[in-house]
Amino acid sequence: MCVLQWGIRMRLDIHKDFPILDQNIHGRPLVYLDSAASSQKPKAVIEAMTHYYEHDHANIHRGIYTLSERATVLHDQARDRVKQFINAKSSAEIIFVRGTTEAINLAAHSYGRSQLRAGDEIIVSVMEHHANIVPWQMLAASVGAHIKVIPLLPTGDLDMENYASLFSPRTRLVAITHASNVLGTVNPIKKITAIAHAHHVPVLVDGAQAVPHLSVDVQDLDCDFYVFSAHKMYGPTGIGVLYGKQALLENMPPWQGGGDMIAQVSFSGTTYAPLPAKFEAGTPAIAEAIGLHAAIDYIETIGMPAIMAHEAALMAYAKTRLGDIPGFRFIGMAKEKVGVIAFTLDDIHPHDMGTILDRSGIAIRAGHHCAMPLVMSLGLPAVARVSFGIYSRRADVDALVKGLYAVKKVLA
């Protein structure tokens, strides 16, 4: 239950904003517990994109007619909205990409390949999503750099002492997740950037699992890059954001070439456009930027404090209810967590759990969650995960508990 009165009202209403939730799966009401993989979309977001296509669409930039002007203004406004949302200093620091993965690849290609040399080092943590491992491995392989890995404490928190000890004169970058997509752990980013900056090392923060759940202020965090995907924060697929400090972005070479990222093209030489255009070659995901704008409006209308209170209350409820199930084991007990619970139940394989729960309309995720190094370090072949969104309710937890008892019965 929410601590605040308006929190309670919110919980009763919110569900109805999401058309997809109003359906039966295998004859049972859908209980969607996989928001960390991708959130559902409120009507307001879907309608903003439909409205755009039905009234305002044209290619942006360089259009000299009304529709193109409208589309350009809407696209610019979306960028400004993102800037406010994460409190960037300037809209020039907001680069639109397809998602978290492309954002990290952009940083690895442009910043990485221009700055790193053989023997240099990159620090990541063992709890990273593959998106924040593989691009650095590919970069390391291509320039001859090395990757150092921050281990975890048994609680699921980062081993901060070990982290501080990993720096060397060759450390060139720290790439770390704001919140773990498996354990839910929220990492102490301000401390992490302070330590890195003391060594003059920039920090890239993977905010994919943080932006839907926390107030993010990139200036306060003092991170150098911050990346996230719209589809995990109630926005559309096909768009995400790379935030970078302006001075850093300005010194980085472009990555992709094409229209709009150039000032002038000739066969004897090409000059590049200023930020953010330099990193946005080609026709961008225009409708998707407008959908992201609507998603931020939606989040801020409800209010991040209300969302956080709601999710904290739901997590507390879930911990009590789930903890009562015999054989239920929580994976990851960090103090600060987003609405993600990884667990095992008896010796039941998560995949069997998932199949059985699905027949009760309950959607959970099972496997390595694109975080194989973490799951392997836990000594488990796979884990089950439930994750909450703004629309999740106590009734969802109740259904899950009932479903897990049914799982035990089927496999008894």
């Binding site: 295998h26 998560p350 995949h351 069997d352 027949r359 390595h368 072949p381 796979a382 049914a406 089927v410």
Partner: protein, 152 residues
């Protein structure tokens, strides 16, 4: 519990899943292969011992869901004395069984797996051990993954 679930998780499957037969290393195996299912992280290492092209013994190691463990366990019991060509025929029928619910020829004990056909996402689980065995017998190096399974 729905009828489909009862059909999928028959007691034979739960039993084989929990107490797999022929689980462990095989000292004088002459064929080995690792199968991997990125969908759920399942991993099965197959050891097979052949003589005059006939399979004398199959053992396996690894971990996985009830379906993949039961499938590996049943398979390791039922394919002895067969050649690779014969096993490929059985696999074709088995594949038909778990995707449609019925097979061209009587598959004996393997019929307990027919419930899989109501769960297309689990076909990869049921075939992991088979892919690994066939790759082992073909002496394919490396690893097979269920990503090679046709999309459902």
């Amino acid at each position: 519990m729905t009828a489909e679930l009862r059909e999928l998780y028959q007691s034979v499957i739960i039993d084989h899943g929990r107490h797999p037969r022929n689980f462990g290393a095989l000292a004088n195996a002459n064929h080995h292969h690792e199968g991997f299912n990125p969908l759920c992280g399942d991993r099965i290492l197959i050891h097979a011992q052949t003589q005059n092209d006939r399979v004398e013994k199959i053992m396996f190691e690894g971990s996985g869901c009830a379906i993949s463990m039961a499938s590996a366990s049943l398979m390791s019991d039922l394919l002895l004395k067969k050649t690779r060509a014969e096993i490929e025929t059985v696999f074709a029928d088995f594949h038909q069984l778990i995707t449609t619910g019925h097979a061209n020829q009587d598959l004996g004990k393997l019929r307990v797996m027919s419930g899989v056909h109501e769960f297309p996402l689990r076909v990869k689980c049921a075939t992991l051990a088979w892919h690994a065995l066939l790759a082992a017998l073909r002496d394919v190096s490396g690893k097979v993954t269920t990503e090679d399974e046709e999309p459902i």
